[in-house]
Amino acid sequence: MSAAPAAPGDWEPVIGLEVHCELRTATKLFCGCRNAFGDEPNTNICPVCLGLPGSLPVLNAVAVEFAMRIGTALRCDIRPSLFHRKNYFYPDMPKDYQISQFDEPINANGWLELPDGTRVGVERAHMEEDTGKTTHVGGGGRIHDARHSLVDYNRAGVPLVEIVSRPDIRSAAQARLYAEELRGILVATGASDGRMEEGSLRVDANVSVRRPDAEFGTRCEIKNLNSLRSLVRAIEYEIGRQIEVLESGGTVLQQTRHWDEDRGETGALRSKEEAFDYRYFPEPDLVRLDPDAGWRADVAASVGAMPADRRAALAALLGPEGFSAARTDQIATVVENGLDGLMTAVVEAGIGAPLALARTANEASADPQRARALDPDTYAALLRMEQDGTLSATQTKELLGELLERGGDPAELARRHGYQALAADSLVEVVDEIVAAHPEEWARYGDGDDKLTGFFTGLVMKATQGKANGKAVAAELRRRRG
């Protein structure tokens, strides 16, 4: 079928996301094997993560700590919890059951706020182990028509936290915002490296549509969303598909559907009736997890400010009159790149917030890794030269690039480039000469023709080989005109 146009006005999509986050622990959830992506297959394995007969799981305390950090960051209740066994047969699952938290998750009832101000509820964020990875050889690369399959158990037993949102999301674009925001939070807690392309973050989407203010419609769960792009495309497709089904008088069946990236459509994997009966029961090989209050408090104290708070802090530096849509985006960029500390430091050192934001969001963010290592005093010294007119914007940008790449002292760098030469009195001399050489234009400018500002500035720039500060030139012109 062809995709119908997404969500005409009288249908409202209702979306909830389930995000699987691999924790960045050194070792796996229940054994001492290395937790690493991209190693030679079946090298990070042992009796426990292979589920060999007689082996037993022992819970990794660091994974518990990461889970609690995530719970804290998502403003969840952190509670005593229990591991269950989720039973189903699959070749990449060594024990043919997955140890997962079920009705007593470690984190519940949280929320996060999107940059657009929407608050999305987090129903739970529970711990579980990852499965191995199967590669189907031959056929279409899916299990049912493969010639044979190869299983890599390096990933089996890697710790995961599954974050289940409430169905509070209303569009594909907002789903993307949620995924991005959650990713930022997970990275900020130190629990995740946020790499979707390596499978560190995996998203499933629950999608339904309804008439505004009606009961929720029947939902479908979409799997195999490996990038933000496929998340958006799949949700848009699915919304369109469901609307088309409903508008042609049909009913949406509760299904698990697979997103086919190449064909750009979802296809049914299994229906509600075919759903597995996982036969959950409490995992008898593990004891109840009940972190004591001291540990919980230590973890909560170690979790720093989350992106939303950090964005708010930068916005506060700009003040209400400094607010604009463009600056909101710039603030998001600065926070995403972890440069809000740097920007705050230079503002505190006396640099105007708009200038600090512009340089940090644009030039410094071009190389966030180096920018994070930049000494705030050095950065402030550079921006101060732009602020007091010693350097033009162009010169500042160029020097910032050099600073990031090779380091150094901004004043010294400016001298070496000869940027220092054009101090205020030399600018006055240059302007004198140019005004004298163009009396006609000067007279028109004097009569209020502001379009000539550019003409004179251009001449000054030409005469100074670009060393003059554009703003300073304009100011000088205005001063003369009186």
């Binding site: 009796p47 007969p53 007689g54 082996s55 037993l56 799981p57 047969f89 070749p91 036969r279 029961f281």
Partner: protein, 487 residues
Amino acid sequence: MTTARALAEQVRTGAVSATDVVERHLAAIDESDGAVHAFVLVLHEAARRRAAEIDSQVASGADPGPLAGVPVAVKDNLCTRGLPTTCCSKILDGWCPPYDATVVERLRAAGAIVVGKTNLDEFAMGSSTENSAFGPTHNPYAPDRVPGGSSGGSAAAVAAGLVPLALGSDTGGSIRQPAALCGVVGMKPTYGTVSRYGLIAFASSLDQIGPFSATVADAAALFEVIAGHDPLDSTSLDRPAPRSVESLGDGVEGLRVGVARQLVDGVAPDVGAGVRRAAEVLDGAGATVTECSIPELAYGLPAYYLLAPAEASSNLSRYDGVRYGLRVDGADVETMMRATRAAGFGAEVKRRIMLGTYALSAGYYDAYYGQAQKVRTLIINAFENAYRQFDVLLGATTPTTAFPIGDKVGDPMAMYLSDVCTVPSNLAGHPAISVPFGTDGDGLPIGVQVLAPALCEPLVFRVAAVLEASAPAVTEPVLAAATWAAP
């Protein structure tokens, strides 16, 4: 027979060599085990190498440990590194674990020598050892009768004098029941005192490894060696194992003993008479013996036969032909898994997987698994209540003495009833011991059971030692090996 403790003392002092001890026992196994079939694997060469190591340690003045040179048989559901570990199931055909069970490591550290792996009901599911893929074990007292199960091989090996010590596992009575039927001592420790790491799981919340021996003192000595915290088992109690040997001779003066009607009524008359004689012995030794009733114990068996299969259905999922053991090829992975499991598991294992799968299924969970968990709590509370009045409880270990091979294989319910006196201790996680106490009219051994609250192993052994001292003399079994001697 020289006791394990005496043997170890002789080896440590150099009075006899470990090599000599091992050779005598290997010879006995080679000669007698054809008739008993206690072993599914005998480790001649490994045992000899280990004995030579022990001897050189002694020669160099080092102490090889409290069980120096003592031959031990290990139930074949305990992992032994590089050696076949089968659970007596075809599905584990050819599998050799790459690691030792914690108890096997502890045996080695204590100087003991593993001489072989013993027969069991497949995956420890059964009460007669007839469910073994390798054929039944014969009761040394009556070769046409069962040794009990599931640790029938370990019980029979000790009863026939093939080894002084053996390890078994007890999920619903699998140590105590065969110990009773074979006339040896068998003890199930408190859940969590002995590490389960390397014990191939049947029902994880009930499984516990424990000792078999000819004497109570040897059982206590072996228990001390295997017990203690293990970081590899999350359910292992983080506290030192209770010391039991030092208080063995403390007697029962002043102890309050309850004879639980539910563990005596309904058992065979000779078995019941044995329990009453045992009660008289304790009374005569200064204990206060009172009859009592714990009605909740009657619900133990049905609860057990829901919980144990439920856990087993999950524990046994991993035998799917993908990674190890048997694989029967199929057109696709699901067909392969079905064919492998159909061919690899025996009838009783399949029955319990189906029972357990059903008990956990959507729509039935609350009525079966959930309800059974409530009964488990009820039984724990009933014991707690009883132990306000009594220090220990006394009862039969089994409803009958050894029954003929083939008698109950066609009637699972009759077979399950063999566990009726033993399952309550597993559900509660409490320690319990079976001590030989005379024979029935046919000369078949009778076992009496001593039960106590969690972590009261020293008490269990003390009471058992008093019973042992006054028990009717043990007769020599029909299938006694040359190494057999009256304890």
